[in-house]
Amino acid sequence: MNRLTDEDLALLLLIRLFERKLLALFERGALNGTTHTCLGQEYVPVSLRPLLRADDWVFSNHRGHGHYLARFDDPDGLLAEIMGRKGAVCDGVGGSQHLKRDRYLSTGVQGQSLPVATGVALNLKRTAPGALACVYVGDGTWGEGAVYEALNLAQLWRLPLLVVVEHNGIAQSTPTELQMAGSVAGRAAAFGIGHRRVEGWDVADIRQQLAPLVEHVRTEPAPLVVEFATHRLGPHSKGDDTRPADRRGKDWYAAYRAAHPGQAARIEAAAGERVDRIAEEVAARPPSTWTAT
């Protein structure tokens, strides 16, 4: 694995430690409701970060904390949202899976965002050529009919739509082989839509592979499906992982730490301190106020 810049590694570990902190807070009973962590998948949004522009839209899903943190350096606002504290991104109304800030938006219903992103891409094609709509989905999302309706529209209308599939092999508790006939590649091909499968977690290598493809979406508008073969290391939400520990997939960070122990230790310590400090500070805030009902 190539050496990461300190900046990339700091973001990766911010996401990792933020998610671990959430699970710890849940165990202590300090969090309400539910949450879905992206442990193991942190490198997906971090790899895409420099390939996306400020005028692009990003649509995230239930497992979206990494997507948000890769877009905004705002762990405080996100944690406040999840904890319902002052300074929350959406006043504590949306919570973990319903966030909107500028051109970033997440929703909690599988497949729902793809048609919406298609409409945004229609607007962008006309008003901001070169900008695109990026949608994160999982492998489980491909069970929803909305996905196919949207892919059909986006390809028919040649819209700048980047579909990022985080294929972690498990939809909540159901392994891919029990929920998907055929493949993501085959489904994209059925619409004549380009597809690229990304193996591995080498951030520099992923960026190099994807940069020309993403650029192509901008210059010759048409949808593109990028499928990351990734691993969900943690539970679906919290404490609900029924897989044996040795079947939870590979951890990019374990591999990276073994290869670059000095840098990893230094940056992990700094990220840990930051997350601890934020957690303490946010927990001490007063409850959020919902002003615009």
Binding site: C90, V93, H98, L114, P115, N152, A292
Partner: protein, 329 residues
């Protein structure tokens, strides 16, 4: 002019005046111009903004939401209102919730047009009025086309509200005259509500009817018969906005009426009318002369054969029977 032409002209005007407006739907390109010809001429004049779509109601409404989020305005034609069920998630869980679920207000200017109603022989899945399934959804407003409300004004109002709106359009109404009413009756707009009463001084307190626009003609036919055959003079109230529906302005007149009857076209059970009746019972307890009477289509599927359909779908005779029964027992 017919009501359908008024709506067609409203869409022409809107697209012409506002370059951020899109119209999306199935089969709406010229020369076909939509299953009911309401979009006729639009695609020829505004080719980039009047888009024919695949049979994908969910994606069409989702795309409309995306346009709205990005600063445009979207009008969706659902070919038969029954198919709005295919877009239920996008309407209820995305478009409507987006107005408020992100903490701050998110403008969602979009209109979902739903050609609705029976008496055309289209059968169980092409004849319904689905209003009741959308009553009480936070962030969602319901309107109904009427022969008294100019469609351009209604469209402007819906888009200006920046909330997703469903517009129910009775299919029979498309071919009826705009602003025309029976020669025995006169009408005027009182705010959002069209008020129709006998064209006689101080008449119309024997009973009050509340009905959405699609029922207006059946209601007036019933009122004519009640006037001529039974000397009963009633007043009809036709709101343009069905939900949220503010009854405040109607309370004095309704409280003074001999009977309040809500007539609607949807199937019985859990209806818009029962919501209105509950509100009136609460607000007018003590002044109502008798319980609010509800009339609707039967609690059943809508048959295709005309003689069977007539028995299920609300008719003018259903309304006049209900009024007589309530007043005279």
């Amino acid at each position: 002019m017919r009501v359908g032409e008024n709506l067609n002209q409203a869409l022409h005007g809107l697209l012409g005046d506002d370059p951020s407006v899109y119209v999306l739907g199935e089969d709406l390109l010229d020369p076909y111009g939509g299953a009911f010809k309401i979009t006729r001429g639009l695609s020829a004049r505004f080719p980039g903004r009047v888009l024919t779509t695949p049979l994908s109601e969910g994606a069409i409404v989702g795309a409309a939401s995306g346009l709205a989020l990005a600063g445009d305005k979207a009008i969706v034609e659902i070919m038969f209102g029954d198919f709005a069920a295919l877009a239920f998630d996008q309407i209820v869980n995305f478009a409507s919730k987006s107005v408020s679920m992100y903490g701050h207000r998110v403008p969602m200017p979009m209109v979902i047009r739903c050609p609705s109603g029976g008496n055309r022989g289209y059968g169980p899945t092409h004849s319904q009025n689905l209003q009741k399934h959308f009553v009480g959804v936070p962030g969602l407003s319901l309107f109904e086309m009427s022969p008294f409300h100019d469609n351009r004004a209604v469209l402007d109002r819906m888009l200006a509200s920046a909330r997703p709106c469903l517009l129910f359009e009775d299919k029979v109404l498309y071919t009826r005259g705009m602003y025309e009413v029976d020669d025995l009756f006169a009408w005027e707009l009182a705010g959002d509500v069209a008020v129709v009463r006998p064209d006689l001084p101080a008449a119309g307190a024997d009973y009050a009817l509340i009905a959405p626009g699609g029922v207006a003609h059946r209601a007036v036919a019933a009122m004519r018969w009640l006037l001529l055959e039974h000397d009963l003079a009633g007043t009809l109230y036709v709101p343009s906005q069905l939900y949220p529906f503010d009854v405040s302005g109607l309370l004095p007149a309704l409280g003074a009426a001999g009977l309040v009857c809500v007539a609607e076209d949807g199937s019985a059970g859990g209806t818009w009318g029962s919501h209105v009746a509950a509100e009136l019972h609460t607000r007018l307890w003590g002044s109502l002369k008798r319980p609010v009477r509800l009339v609707s289509s039967a609690d059943g599927v809508i048959p295709t054969a005309p003689h069977l359909e007539r028995d299920v779908v609300l008719q003018d005779t259903t309304i006049r029977r209900a009024v007589l029964e309530a007043l005279h027992g």
